[in-house]
């Protein structure tokens, strides 16, 4: 029995992936558990292991390395010794097929067989069937939702579904209809089509959009700000040997230590329960060309500043190159975001669900400060702590922020 190898779904939000490379060759024997190929999904690069054993067969015209295809697209087969590759049933109405989705990049090898003269000997070969198959893949939608989408004029092919396996449900269509109404009202003043550039959300952007709207919808957020004296921090950093830690690295360490004493800030709300995380995994917001990514420093309270600097630098580099692995992004319990380098003094960061707090770091600059009745110039910075008031009250949050400030001001070079 042949086993189909398909583009796997490596996260709930993944609907397409890029085949980076095969790690096995055509005809090579694959054992269960061996790494078969590498896939780049919306946020990470993943090694995909084989759940079955067999002899790898990659049909001509299957998506090759570099092709971005929908989840579920057939990439190849695992065959038993001596077994012939299965021949896909011919499509009943191939000429009526819709054009492939934009995301589908047909490998050039397959293209001529669709438009040019078909080779009679291969007219029923399996070569192009994976492509035809994937071209038909659309988001699943319930009949009811599809009917409603027609009635409300919603283009459901652009929706992501909340049902099982991503199925678009009635609620999704109604929600989209409401959003579309308000969006069209908003731009009503400038109805000139040419004035608007319309592009589809990138996978990363879509994940960010979903998580941010979840955060602002579900969390009761309050932001506290406090100005700290950062002079000692500046001095400490100045004395560090190169490569010097960033201020973010210093705050990761200080926040991690403070979180150990204030566990309620290192918590999440889960279905009527409070989850206090015994481990402190601090996410660092990294600005990349693809969008915001938040790789995680694990057990940050148990790591030296040097170790944090080293890991943070490696994570940030991988994030910018699109090389983060799923594990780099998972399991954060608290987040730090630093906009100081862009000249921002204070802001209201947004919580990264399901965490309960996020710390924003503002610009460190020389500012006039009153000391013993005298105005003196000191390095200061404004910390902005956003917390989820469903879980954390103002008092504990303020005490955490105060502890962080004291720790920052008590740093010894």
């Amino acid at each position: 029995m042949s086993v189909e190898i398909v583009m796997p779904r490596l996260g709930w939000t993944m609907d397409e992936g890029t085949l980076v490379e095969w790690l096995k060759k055509e005809g090579e024997t694959v054992a269960v558990g061996e790494i078969l190929f590498i896939v780049e999904s919306d946020k990470a690069v993943n090694e995909v292991e084989s759940f079955d054993g067999g002899i790898l067969h990659i049909p001509d015209g299957a998506p090759g390395p570099g092709a971005t295809v929908a989840v579920g697209t057939m990439l190849g087969y695992l065959l038993e010794p001596g077994e012939q590759a299965p021949v896909a049933a011919p499509s009943s109405t191939p000429s009526d097929e819709p054009p492939p989705q934009p995301a589908l990049q047909s490998p050039p090898a397959a293209a001529p067989s669709r438009g040019g003269e078909p080779d009679p000997a291969h007219s029923r070969s399996s070569a192009e069937s994976p492509l035809l198959k994937s071209a038909r893949v659309k988001p699943a939608i319930s009949p009811r939702a599809r009917r409603l989408a027609g009635e409300l004029g919603v283009d459901w092919t652009q929706l992501s579904g909340s049902g099982r396996s991503g199925r678009i449900t009635e609620d999704d269509v109604r929600a989209a209809s409401t959003t579309a109404d308000s969006a069209s009202e908003a731009v009503n003043g400038s109805s000139d089509e040419a004035a608007i550039e319309r592009t589809r959300l990138s996978p990363v952007r879509r994940v960010i959009a979903d998580r941010m709207s979840q955060s602002s919808r579900d969390n009761a957020t309050v932001t506290l700000t406090a100005e700290i004296d950062a002079t000692r921090m500046v001095e400490l950093r100045g004395r560090c040997p190169a490569p010097k830690p960033g201020y973010t690295d210093v705050f990761v360490r200080l926040a991690a230590l403070a979180l150990a004493d204030h566990p309620v800030l290192n918590a999440s709300l889960d279905d009527g329960h409070v989850l206090l995380h015994r481990s402190i995994h601090v996410g660092i917001a990294v600005d990349t060309d693809a969008g915001l990514l938040v790789p995680v420093i694990r057990d940050a309270d148990r790591k030296s500043l040097e170790k944090i600097r080293e890991e943070a630098a490696a994570l940030a580099a991988r994030a910018r190159e699109g090389q983060l692995r799923p594990d780099d992004l998972r399991g954060g319990t608290f987040t730090i975001t630093n906009l100081g380098m862009h000249g921002v003094d204070a802001f209201t960061p947004i919580i990264n669900p399901p965490q309960s707090a996020v710390l924003g770091i503002g610009r460190i600059a020389m500012r006039p400060v009153v000391r013993d009745g005298q105005v003196v110039a000191r390095y200061t910075a404004i910390l902005s702590l956003t917390f989820d008031h469903r879980l954390v009250d103002g008092g504990p949050a303020a005490r955490f922020l105060a502890a962080l400030r004291e720790a920052a001001e008590a740093l010894r070079p």
């Binding site: 009949p143 009811r144 099982r164 449900t169």
Partner: protein
């Protein structure tokens, strides 16, 4: 209003109809002086005499065939099978004669036979005494199949069955026999093919049969507290089936679960699912789901028997799963 048990309600209807119509007679094993294994005819032997309460030997095919002939001559037989499982021994007479005779005579001959008996698992009677075979009869043209779940419905549907000129399967689930409920003293009928909406809701339509109705009702409040509003429908008769009521409900909820302790394959849930899919495809917001007993003979061991029937926790889980589709 006065309360009766399910058995008392059905017996009251049978007694009243036998008073009204002298052509009605009952036959079966132990239904005379003994009054029926499940007290279906208690006191009737004294009340109506041996001509109208005919005890039979254990020969289902024989006495069912006799009823076919008796009905053709203008009487109205009621066969009391006790455990309906043994109706299978008379299946040839039923499927090939009783169900067909009206068609074959262009309706010149009527076939007013009521075939009653107890169905269902859950009372430790093991596999020969635990079956629910309604789907087999609902499959065949010619039969009416009713599965009442409350004392009120038992009386009303029994009266309708006894006045029908068609063969009727009147199926009484053993776990319901002693349940009590309000029953009017007056004579009343409930039409075949009229479902009852037991509870109104917005999110999920549940069609439940027999004791699955009360088991489902028992979890509806808990589910409502969790944000899942259940509309519960008791079809009461399976042939004819009130698919209109189910369709109207699914048009509101978009989701349908059918709960039936009988076997899933080719069962009544499959039929309901197909009818709703054919008629209401555009109303469905999720796949139609079924919750059935396992496809195997009912075990005797009480814990195994209990596991062979959908229980409230599985029902609640199935509803939650469907709501999450």
């Amino acid at each position: 209003m006065r309360e009766l048990t399910y058995t008392e309600a059905a017996r009251e209807a049978l007694g009243a109809e036998m008073e009204r119509d002298p052509n009605i007679f009952v036959l079966g094993e132990g239904i005379g002086k003994r009054g029926g294994n499940f007290n279906t005819t208690t006191g009737f032997f004294e009340r109506f005499g041996p001509r109208r309460l005919r005890d039979t030997p254990i020969c289902e095919r024989g006495f069912v065939g006799l009823c076919a002939g008796a009905a053709m001559t203008g009487t109205r037989p009621v066969v009391d099978f006790m455990f309906i499982d043994f109706i299978l021994d008379s299946f040839g007479e039923l499927a090939n004669q009783i169900a067909k005779i009206q068609y074959m005579t262009s309706g010149r001959l009527k076939m007013p036979v009521v075939l009653r008996g107890c169905i269902g698992a859950g009372s430790g009677h093991a596999t020969h005494h635990s079956g629910s075979y309604y789907s087999i009869f609902a499959h065949l043209p010619g039969f009416r199949v009713v599965v009442p779940t409350t004392p009120y419905d038992a009386k009303g549907l029994m009266t309708t069955s006894l006045r029908s000129d068609d063969p009727v399967l009147f199926l009484e689930h053993k776990s319901l026999l002693n349940t009590r409920g309000d029953v009017p003293e007056d004579d009343y009928t409930i039409p075949f093919g009229q479902a009852r909406v037991c509870r109104e809701g917005d999110d999920v339509t549940v069609v439940a049969l027999g004791p699955m109705v009360s088991k489902t009702l028992a979890v509806c409040d808990e589910l409502a507290a969790a944000g899942i509003s259940v509309e519960l429908i008791d079809p009461r008769s399976l042939a004819p089936l009130d698919s209109e009521a189910i369709f109207l409900s699914v048009s509101q909820t978009g989701r349908l679960l059918i709960i039936d302790e009988a076997f899933g394959p080719c069962g009544i849930g499959a039929e309901i699912s197909a009818q709703i899919m054919e008629r209401g495809f555009d109303q469905l917001d999720a796949p139609v789901r079924r919750l059935n007993g396992p496809h195997g003979p009912t075990p005797f061991s009480p814990p195994l028997e209990s596991a062979a029937v959908p229980q409230p926790e599985q029902i609640a889980q199935a509803i939650r799963n469907l709501a999450a589709e």
